[in-house]
Symmetry: C2
């Protein structure tokens, strides 16, 4: 248990009070690595996990599969130290910037989003402003 | 409607089939800006929004408030062009890297996470390995 000064504790209580949890009492939390900017994972926090994350300098989630509080790294050693945090514009999503120790993903990958890259159709302003020569030729039947 | 070659269309169908949507049929999607690495927003996609996002080069969400498909930028002009995408290790979250035109947030902020920065207690390995001199003095009653 971290001892916080009363003003800090009241600030954190106010954040937990204004956060908008879903019908299951959860808030999605995007975890981004300090420095690299890599998005490591997405987890969920209930009110107590959010309060602990903002109070303890360590990220705590609510594990939906185990239905229990889960302080990241307590079992694996792959601790996430809190370096910054923000709610979004309608208070229903959290971004936490962390110092990640070891891999963030249970697969051993550094980030959970490293394991399943997709091949979407790419878009970009250039494609709309200046069609590629091939596309122009194709459109002209060339 | 974008015309995709059959192999590409089958690949995208396979992604939509293996994505793990929640009980409301939604998948959280983290939107990250190409280049800056800034996390712009978190939105939700149903199967059709995911299929369109992977097929059209533009990000489409499911609007939970309006209960309709919402292709980002159609009204505001603040288009998100798809530059990369990945599912996470258990297929229940999506990361989309985008080229963002204009601000991503309806408040006019560049990112939805710019508007409500918090003041969490910070953690770091240094605090655990080498307590600050003040803390050591305090622990010693100094």
């Amino acid at each position: 248990m971290t001892l916080l000064d009363p003003e800090r504790a009241a600030d954190i209580d106010a954040v937990v009070a204004r956060a908008s949890f879903d019908s299951a009492g959860l808030l999605p939390a995007v975890i981004q690595e300090e420095g690299s900017g890599q998005v490591l994972m997405l987890g969920y926090m209930n009110a107590e996990a959010l309060r602990r994350t903002l109070s303890e300098g360590r990220v705590t989630f609510w594990s939906r599969s185990r239905q229990e509080l889960w302080r990241k790294g307590d079992t694996s050693g792959n601790v996430q130290y809190v370096r910054a945090a923000a709610l979004d514009c309608d208070d229903d999503a959290l971004l936490v910037t962390v110092h990640q120790v070891g891999p963030a993903c249970h697969t051993g990958a550094h980030a959970c989003f490293d394991v399943d890259p997709l091949a979407p159709v790419l878009g970009g302003p250039a494609a709309h402003v200046a069609p590629a020569a091939d596309a122009t030729r194709e459109a002209n039947g060339g």
